[in-house]
């Protein structure tokens, strides 16, 4: 038994491929738990960053700088009354958020956080991701229809049209990246997520910069399409607050509503991961081929630790600047504890074995986080597109460009 459990550890592959169920389950728990925590953190960050964009403070009351706000929100949502409209189709109404949640979480099975840090590596990895994430449209359509109300219906009509349209441009952009994998002279191309990153490693270039500006254009197309796919500003028409109140989830409340939110944020992280994997070198550290040598390896592997120490320092400065009033004592202590935890994590990250294992994951997450920040930035800056404009951008701008990119990539690939 113990042998079975440890049999994976020596292997140079993912638990799914090793067929080791124990480690696969552990990985699944870690990844899903991590994603849930990331969603909560994202929730806090979005509110905080958006607030600072808008010269406000954002959540400040629950915990130091509102750090515990997501937890308070979660508790509130869970204890809220769960309303199902009388005229709703109960079964469909009930199952719709679950479909969205399942679709957006299942995607994480193939996301490679590192060469071996993935639940499994599928031969059709990218195809699997696109396929499963396209299932979330079903959840949206079902939610809108089953609510038996005008606004949700309009919202779901909009979102299904929108998601299907942008999936095409997105798929073509992905294809051009997949084509690039097969252009290494060494072998054939691959659809596997790990394989794609490895191809970038072998070719010594992130696909975003390959055949410049082709790869970059494909990345931009994908980055636009993924915002539309996840129904976020400026493409948040399905839930356009000022037009359709809340779109397809107008009639949802409490826990069910929070499942939608969980699904939405999980999907945002998932599509950002695809973008990072396909174009930004996945788990690779920046400049893997220009800044080579042991010194640089060491420098880059120390960055995670220093980053956490810096965060701890910021938190500590926050502790010092807390008002010295008995009322704030608990908050101050909490923030100090938080700073201590951050510092401890930073110190642990300096330990060589941990450092080696963790830095892939760190770089991957850092790149995803950049995309998440973009999401927030868009939301603070852009007004909302109108539906016909959205369709025009999707079909008349993104689609032709992505077809062009695909064709030129193929030609260049044959030529070189």
């Amino acid at each position: 038994m113990l042998d079975y459990i440890t049999s994976y550890l020596g292997m140079n592959t993912t638990p799914g491929q090793a067929g080791n169920i124990f480690w696969a389950v552990v990985y699944i728990l870690i990844v899903f738990g991590g994603v849930s925590v990331a969603v909560m953190a994202m929730n806090w960050l979005e509110r905080k960053a958006l607030a600072h964009f808008q010269i406000r403070l954002g959540p400040m009351r629950v915990g130091p700088h509102g750090l515990l706000q997501p937890i308070a929100d979660a508790i509130k949502l869970m204890t809220k009354e769960d309303i199902i409209p009388e005229q709703a189709d109960k079964f469909v109404f009930w199952i719709a958020p679950l479909i969205i949640l399942c679709a957006s979480f299942t995607v994480y099975i193939v996301i490679p956080f590192g060469p071996t840090h993935a639940i499994t590596d599928m031969n059709i990895g990218i195809l699997f991701m696109l396929g499963v994430s396209s299932l979330s449209v079903l959840g949206v359509v079902m939610a809108g229809w089953s609510s038996n109300s005008h606004y949700p219906l309009l919202g779901s009509l909009r979102s299904s049209a929108q998601m299907i349209s942008y999936e095409i441009a997105m798929g073509l952009a992905v294809l051009s990246a997949v084509l690039m994998t097969s252009l290494n002279k060494s072998g054939t191309g691959t659809l596997s997520m790990i394989g794609i990153v490895e191809a970038q490693q072998q070719q010594h270039i992130w696909f975003a910069f390959k055949f410049f500006p082709l790869g970059f254009v494909a990345l931009v197309i994908f980055a636009i399409a993924m915002v539309a796919e996840t129904n976020r500003a400026p493409f948040d028409l399905p839930e356009a607050e000022s037009e359709l109140t809340a779109g397809f989830h107008t009639e949802y409340s409490g826990l069910r509503w929070s499942l939608f939110m969980l699904g939405e944020y999980a999907a945002m992280i998932a599509v950002s991961s695809i973008a990072v994997t396909l174009w930004l070198g996945g788990w690779m550290r920046p400049f893997p081929s220009t800044l080579t040598g042991e010194t640089w390896d060491l420098v880059f592997s120390l960055i995670p630790g220093f980053l956490f120490l810096a965060l701890a320092l910021i938190a500590f400065i926050g502790v010092v600047r807390m008002p010295k009033h008995p009322y704030f004592r608990i908050q101050t202590m909490g923030l100090a504890g938080f700073a201590a935890v951050l510092g401890l994590i930073g110190l642990i990250l300096f330990v060589p074995p941990v450092r080696e294992r963790i830095q892939d994951i760190f770089w991957f997450i850092a790149k995803v986080a950049a995309f998440m920040y973009l999401y927030i930035w868009y939301r603070a800056t852009f007004p909302r597109y109108r539906f016909d404009q959205l369709m025009r951008v999707g079909w008349k701008v993104l689609l032709p460009i992505s077809i062009g990119v695909l064709i030129v990539t193929a030609i260049l690939g044959v030529a070189f």
Binding site: L50, F53, Q54, I55, R56, H150, L154, A233, P234, D236, L237, A240, E241, S242, E243, T245, R379, A380, T381, F382, P383, R384, Y385, R386, F387, D388, Q389
Partner: protein
């Protein structure tokens, strides 16, 4: 000019709901509880998919019978009530009413009072436009301008609060002049404000004016021609954005407006984008007026000789001013007693709202939101 009959839409509201899935036409009820109807406006939309075939406004949810109240109050007692109509531009309402009664009494406010009135009214125009910009942008999906405009609106409200103790329903003016002399440092505060605010207006514009999504969402949306504006009685920035250079402050100057030098911004296309530009420019022009007024404010009394009991002679008067939303008129009939026999308010929002149907025909649902926003209505004034 086209046939005015073409503007009149009357949807059959009695259609059965169950058929809507079957047919292409669907009737949707926007409001009275809707985040983008700026209060309790209910718009019944007839849609073909997302295209609007017609819109009918159902109003009156906020009706308080202001005109009836006026008949049962004395002239002075009615003064605070007018603030409750267009509550985001309460000072303008008060100015219109006080000037109308003064005209009826055939008295004139002293010069200093007139200047104070101009300063406060123009500041109020800024708050109104800022509120409009924030909510309009929010309706179109841009969240951030709302917070920027509210930050700067706050400064004006602070001046109001220092001047008369109230922020929103100020009751700033009295019949015959002003109740309060300016507080110490009033001029300094106002000057500081007008020095600080132009870069902030640039900041709003930076976020929106050249933003491609904003331009696409507003250009060509809710177009209305000058002829249609006149036929529908639409006034204010909406009329000016259609290319009519008409502003009551210039056309029939009241208060001290004839003393100041300012431009009337006009648009060309009469679409939502032009109305946006016109209002942005109006903010700058207001600042210009305020600057001149603060620099030239004369010394002297602030209250004319007004009898203790206001009993205007028998007669009728119509007086209108350029409120932030358009022509705000008061028609007052006096029977010689202490109470007005009849007060009729000509609310700009009410008349402008009538153009909604014409402006949204053939547009999309999302444009209805933009058009309601660009009309800049206040339901307190629509329903009175």
């Amino acid at each position: 000019m086209t046939d005015p009959k073409a503007y009149l839409s009357h949807l059959e509201l009695g259609e059965k709901d169950e058929t809507f899935l079957d047919s292409n036409e669907l009737i949707i009820n926007m409001g009275p509880q809707h985040p983008a109807t700026h209060g309790v406006l209910r718009v019944v939309l007839k849609l073909d998919g997302e295209k609007v075939l017609g819109a009918e406004c159902v109003i009156g949810y906020l009706h308080r019978g202001v005109e009836k109240i006026a008949e049962n109050r004395t002239y002075t007692m009615f003064n605070p009530y007018v603030d409750r109509m267009d509550y985001v531009a309460a000072v303008s309402n008060g100015l219109g009413y006080c000037e109308a009664v003064e005209k009826l009494l055939n008295i004139e406010a002293p010069a200093r009072a007139k200047y104070i009135r101009v300063i406060l009214t123009e500041l109020n125009r800024l708050t109104s436009h800022q509120l409009w910009l924030g909510t309009h942008a929010l309706d179109i999906g841009a969240m951030t301008p709302l917070f920027y405009t509210f930050r700067d609106r706050e400064e004006i409200l602070k001046i109001f609060e220092k001047y008369c103790g109230a922020r929103l329903t100020t009751h700033a003016f009295r019949i015959g002049g002003c109740q309060y002399e300016t507080y110490d440092g009033f001029e300094r505060d106002v000057k500081k404000f007008i020095d600080e605010v132009p870069p902030k207006i640039d900041e709003y514009e930076e976020l929106l004016t050249t933003n491609r999504i904003w331009v696409e969402r507003t250009q060509g949306v809710g177009k209305i021609s000058a002829a249609d504006c006149k036929a529908l009685g639409v006034t204010g920035p909406v009329l000016r954005a259609s290319g009519v250079k008409w502003d009551l402050r210039k056309a029939q100057p009241y208060a001290a407006y004839s003393d100041f030098d300012f431009e009337i911004p006009t648009g060309v296309n009469g679409d939502t984008y032009d109305r946006y530009l016109v209002r942005m420019e109006e903010m700058r022009q207001s600042l210009r007026i305020i600057r001149q007024a603060v620099e030239r404010i004369p010394e002297g009394p602030i209250m004319a000789k007004v009898p203790k009991v206001i009993k205007p002679p028998v007669g009728e008067i119509y007086h209108s001013i350029e409120a932030p939303k358009g022509e705000l008129g008061y028609f007052i009939v006096s029977d010689g007693s202490t109470q007005p026999y009849r007060v009729r308010v000509r609310p700009p929002s009410f008349v402008n709202l009538q153009a909604l149907d014409l402006m949204v025909r053939g547009q999309l649902v999302a444009d209805v939101i933009a058009v309601i926003g660009t009309l800049d209505i206040v339901l307190g004034e629509v329903d009175r």
